[in-house]
């Protein structure tokens, strides 16, 4: 039933670190993903220095032009350089992705620690979290943006809030099992203060799963930003983000599909890389999985 190991190990090399424990070799997948991500993040950070044109300057003569030496990816409906816009667009998209991941992990961590440790608080907190999870996150996010205005901060908040319950559940489940450990009982018996037990003894257990969860949240936040912009409930259209560029390209889709495909490709490459790194992190950090795969 088990296949010939030779071609399999070659595929493994390509697709990632499934067999990491023995010798800690990383496959090409995660390495390529990390490189792609470094390039995307670096080009976004350095965008104002490296883009060939100003991403906001309109030029009525150059509307919807195909690729040329001057405009490698062509121009959009306002004659703006698509390459410059796509590279610059990464700035806000990545900022929102990373911001949403960090904030939802921090808030979820605090709530989850409390919920996992105090039984009385737990019942109430988990009902609230269940309810939040029952509301489809895209609907909640568009409603929040529609009510709070299209600023970067309100979009970030709208993406962050629906992610919090998932973090809370994860942290709570880790705390629930760690709480029974002898060292925690010992700390309680020694009279350590509650915040100290929570932070010094329980919190470190959550770091590994939270790292993994954080990367997934970052990826899904970038996707959600794009979807919000696409639906017209994203960051104000004056600011180029991957989502906004695609949303604008929508009108000219039949005429010039590349207006959607270039930012779409950039965004998908970015999310794909983040997801691959997340999978790798999970395989490395989750000892249960290591045992099963070994």
């Amino acid at each position: 039933m088990q296949a010939d190991p030779q071609p399999a190990s070659r595929m493994q090399w390509l697709f990632g670190a499934i067999a990491l424990p023995a010798g800690w070799r990383l496959g090409a997948g995660p390495i390529v993903a990390a490189l792609v991500l470094v390039v995307i993040v670096a080009s976004a950070l350095l965008a104002p220095l490296i883009v060939p044109h100003d991403p906001m300057t309109m030029d009525a003569v150059q509307r919807l032009k195909g690729p040329s030496e001057m405009y490698p990816l062509g121009t959009d409906a306002y004659g703006r350089d698509v390459l410059s816009r796509v590279v610059t667009g990464g700035r806000i998209s990545l900022l929102i992705g990373i911001g949403a991941a960090v904030v939802s992990v921090l808030i979820g961590l605090l709530i989850g620690l409390v919920s996992g440790f105090f039984r009385t608080a737990d019942a109430i907190i988990m009902r609230i979290m269940d309810s939040l999870m029952a509301i489809p996150s895209i609907l909640l996010a568009i409603a929040l943006v529609a009510l709070n205005g299209p600023s970067i901060w309100s979009v970030m908040a709208a993406i962050t809030i629906p992610e919090i319950p998932r973090v809370v559940r994860l942290v709570r489940s880790v705390v629930l099992s760690a709480r029974e450990e002898p060292y925690v009982e010992a700390a309680i018996a020694l009279g350590s203060s509650m915040p100290k037990i929570l932070w010094q003894h329980l919190m470190p257990n959550t770091l590994a799963p939270l790292t993994v969860q954080g990367t997934y949240i970052c990826a899904s936040a970038i996707l959600t930003e794009a979807i919000l912009s696409f639906l017209g409930a994203g960051v104000s259209t004056e600011i180029p983000t991957w989502g906004n560029i695609m949303a604008e390209g929508r009108v000219y889709f039949q005429l010039k599909p590349s207006l959607i495909f270039w930012p779409g490709l950039m965004l998908s490459l970015c999310i794909l890389s983040i997801n691959l790194l997340g999978d790798t992190a999970r395989d490395v950090l989750d000892p249960r999985l290591k045992k099963r795969e070994a």
Binding site: P7, R127, S131, M133, A134, P136, F230, F261
Partner: protein
């Protein structure tokens, strides 16, 4: 057993109450005058006043809530601020396209994803496994609308096999419906298939390592029966769970897909309502979809007893 079912059903009530409170507060706790937010910058004082009375905004908060819930329990979801029609009527007119597409998507996804996941687990660490896993990672990484536009570009514009956009009711002309529903369904299914295939694979991998699988094989049970009767049935619970929780993803996808393919369903209704700040419609849609999500997950939880006779509460 009966006790479990009752307790599980009763557990839905606090969740729905909190959802209702949340939806209610969403507008009221937003900084600024809610009526002004809904009406936009161009509103006249008369318009503001009309919105305030129609939403009962001048009453104290708790009285507003009681009135609202009272009407809700009578099935009154309010009246649209834009078209002045009752929200229930609007939803009734728009819900069928969505239901048709969503049901077709779920059936299609399960039919594709479960065999994919079983194959990946069965042929663990072969090209088939890596192909399924690559598809699954890819499915999570491309925005739904980009997938939709790629399908339109390839199948409708380049190959001219299918119409670009639009919708036809299946009761009028099933062929027309199918031609217009295939691409939206495939678009929606991509992420759902990715999700279910991944979970099926993980769950099957765990089960295939069990002793009773080795025993079944040793006594010469046909591999097909080992996989689908012995293994898949035991791996079913996490798969069913992910189908249920993935439903939230599907709703998000419906909203986007209906916009891409110009389908007059409740997803489009919601987006239009949100962009027009038609608050009663937004409230109703969030309540309705959350209720559906809770209900579907309740059904799935209860169905475990059918799939897994070991589960007796």
């Amino acid at each position: 057993m009966l006790g479990y079912i009752l307790r599980r059903i009763l557990a839905v009530i606090p969740v729905m109450i909190i959802v209702a409170v949340f939806v209610f507060l969403l507008l009221r706790l937003t900084p600024g005058d809610p009526a002004a937010i809904i009406a936009g910058d161009m509103a006249t004082p008369a318009q503001l006043e009309r919105i305030r009375t129609s939403l009962g905004l001048s009453e104290p908060l708790h009285i507003q809530f009681v009135t609202w819930v009272g009407l809700l329990l009578q099935g009154d979801l309010g009246t649209s601020l834009i078209s002045n029609t009752p929200v229930t009527t609007m939803i009734g007119q728009r819900i069928w396209p969505t239901i048709n597409i969503a049901v077709m998507t779920i059936l299609l996804s399960v039919a594709i994803a479960v065999p994919m996941g079983v194959l990946a687990a069965w042929r663990h660490r072969t090209w088939a496994d890596y192909a399924v896993m690559s598809f699954s990672v890819l499915g999570f990484s491309i925005p739904v609308f980009v997938i939709g536009y790629i399908f339109i570009q390839v199948f409708s514009i380049e190959l001219r096999w299918l119409p670009v956009q639009g919708y036809a009711a299946p009761s009028d002309d099933f062929g027309r419906f199918l031609a217009r529903a295939i691409l939206p369904c495939l678009t929606l299914a991509t992420i759902y298939v990715a999700l279910i295939a991944r979970m099926t694979r993980a769950s099957m991998l765990e089960v295939l390592g069990e002793d009773y699988i080795r025993t079944a094989r040793a006594k010469g049970v046909a591999e097909r029966i080992v996989l689908f009767r012995h293994a898949l049935r035991n791996a079913a619970v996490p798969i069913m769970t992910i189908i249920g929780t993935g439903f939230a993803l599907l709703i998000g996808g419906v909203v986007v897909t209906e916009s891409v393919f110009n389908i007059p369903g409740i997803g489009r209704l919601t987006v239009d309502a949100i962009l027009a700040r038609d608050y009663p419609v937004i409230q109703a849609m969030i309540l309705l979809t959350s209720g559906l999500y809770v209900f579907i997950n309740l059904l799935i939880d209860l169905s475990y007893t059918l799939f897994d006779p070991r589960i007796r509460y």
